[in-house]
């Protein structure tokens, strides 16, 4: 009997001790302590910071896969095309300083075209005569053939007129419109993180389109008519310039009719003869 009583007492004591132990591990009481110490708040903040950091890391990683947008793409790609065609275009050569930067700058200012940034690349080939290549907004990138200006014996002012005509073409966006494809629109200004690689075929096709318009197709009659009429309209404010433009077209017309090296000119810029016709004032019958 005594033994039994002893066991019961021991059992009850151990249960009390266990209960006491339980109360030591009572999470609610710890929680309240943590709450009072702002530790849970701190932990929540840390977790949030970690999530934000991970998000920022991912965004940075994704950002590395951005394709240049329209404001960055055109000058870059035109330069890429120039580099790829360096041996054909022969622009890496020594030549005298024609001071085209100053002459074209003054020409633009005279006509009221301010804050126009331009770069000119002289090429040592008759395969290309003059062109405004696609470039970033508010920038112009011209190529001019030295053999062409030498054969025609063009003055600085005449070269400026040629460049200005090209500038109007660039403003009209004919070149960019011709070379832009749906594939290109899918690339420019987009992110290719999911694909991991850009489709190089798109850029290859774009370079082919550049070749096409520069060496083969050029501009159509409607585009030429629009540009010639614009030139007419702008230059009429200065008759000396207008006359110079007309005479320059005459010079080019004579050249393309007599020199086989420039027989393709009419295909690219149709045509100096037509341009002169469009410029000539209409005779009125009395």
């Amino acid at each position: 009997m005594r033994k039994m009583i002893l066991i019961v007492i021991l059992f009850s004591l151990s249960s009390v001790a266990q209960e006491k132990k339980k109360s030591h591990l009572d999470f609610d009481s710890i929680k309240s302590v943590l709450k009072n110490d702002f530790l849970t708040e701190e932990a929540r903040k840390n977790r949030k910071q970690e999530v934000e950091l991970d998000k920022a890391k991912l965004a940075k990683k994704k950002g590395q896969y951005n394709s240049p947008d329209r404001s960055d793409f055109w000058t870059f790609f035109t330069e890429y095309w120039l580099v790829k065609n360096a041996t054909i275009l022969k622009w890496d050569f020594e030549k005298p300083d024609y001071a085209l930067d100053d002459s074209f700058k003054f020409f633009l200012e005279k006509l009221g075209y301010y804050e126009k940034t331009f770069r000119i690349l002289l090429v040592n080939t008759p395969n290309i005569t003059h062109f405004a290549l696609p470039s970033n907004p508010n920038e112009y990138l011209f190529i001019v053939s030295v053999p062409f200006i030498r054969t025609l014996d063009l003055t600085k002012l005449e070269i400026s007129l040629l460049l200005f005509e090209d500038m109007l073409r660039a403003d009209s966006g004919y070149f960019v419109k011709y070379v832009s494809t749906d594939d290109l629109r899918q690339l420019v200004g987009k992110n290719f993180y999911d694909k991991k690689k850009i489709n190089l075929k798109t850029l290859k096709n774009l370079a082919t389109k550049y070749d096409e318009i520069i060496f083969d197709k050029g501009f159509n009659f409607q585009q030429q008519f629009t540009i010639t009429k614009k030139m007419d309209h702008i230059l009429k404010t200065d008759l000396q310039l207008w006359n110079m433009y007309y005479k320059m077209l005459q010079k080019i017309d004579d050249l393309v009719k007599s020199n086989v090296l420039y027989k393709k000119y009419n295909q690219i810029y149709p045509s100096p003869e037509l341009q002169m016709n469009w410029l000539r004032p209409k005779k009125t019958i009395q």
Binding site: Q64, Y65, K105, Y114, E115, K116, T117, I120
Partner: protein, 142 residues
């Protein structure tokens, strides 16, 4: 042959770089950064002079002032060229291609796009030459 060698030796001996600037005192005046996408460090202060090395946008460039043994210190050669050190190379870079702070380079903004073009060394060289050959201009502000 001997004559040609002696003429060449005489030219080298009398060239201004050797006589005036060869022994000039070089003081670094600032650290600049290369601005265009690619470019060259030239052997002489001329865009047609040979390239010592091709550098890319954002590359740090040490700009020096040269003081000859006789005469005044020079920071610009032919009005536009800075004497610079880039790594082990000492040459000349056009002042318009140097920025005082690190530029926002195309290669840094679109790294994966740029890498995927896989440009070879010749293309990098030509891209740098492009910036030697450009004629830049801007019409004034109204």
């Amino acid at each position: 042959m001997k004559k040609a060698i002696s003429i060449l030796f005489l030219i080298l001996l009398l060239s201004p770089t050797q006589t005036v600037w060869g022994k000039a005192k070089k003081d670094m005046i600032r650290l600049s950064y290369f601005r265009p996408i690619f470019g060259h460090v030239h052997r002489n202060p001329s865009k047609y002079s040979s390239s010592l090395t091709t550098i890319s946008c954002g590359h740090p460039v040490k700009v020096y002032k040269l003081t000859p043994t006789k005469g005044r210190a020079v920071t610009l050669f032919n009005k536009v060229w800075h004497y610079v050190k880039v790594g082990p190379y000492e040459g000349y870079i056009d002042k318009k291609y140097l920025a005082s702070s690190k530029p926002n380079c195309f290669q840094d903004r679109y790294p994966k796009f740029f890498d995927s073009l896989e440009l070879d060394l010749t293309e990098l060289y030509y891209w740098g030459r492009l910036y030697d050959q450009y004629v830049f201009g801007k019409s004034r502000v109204r």
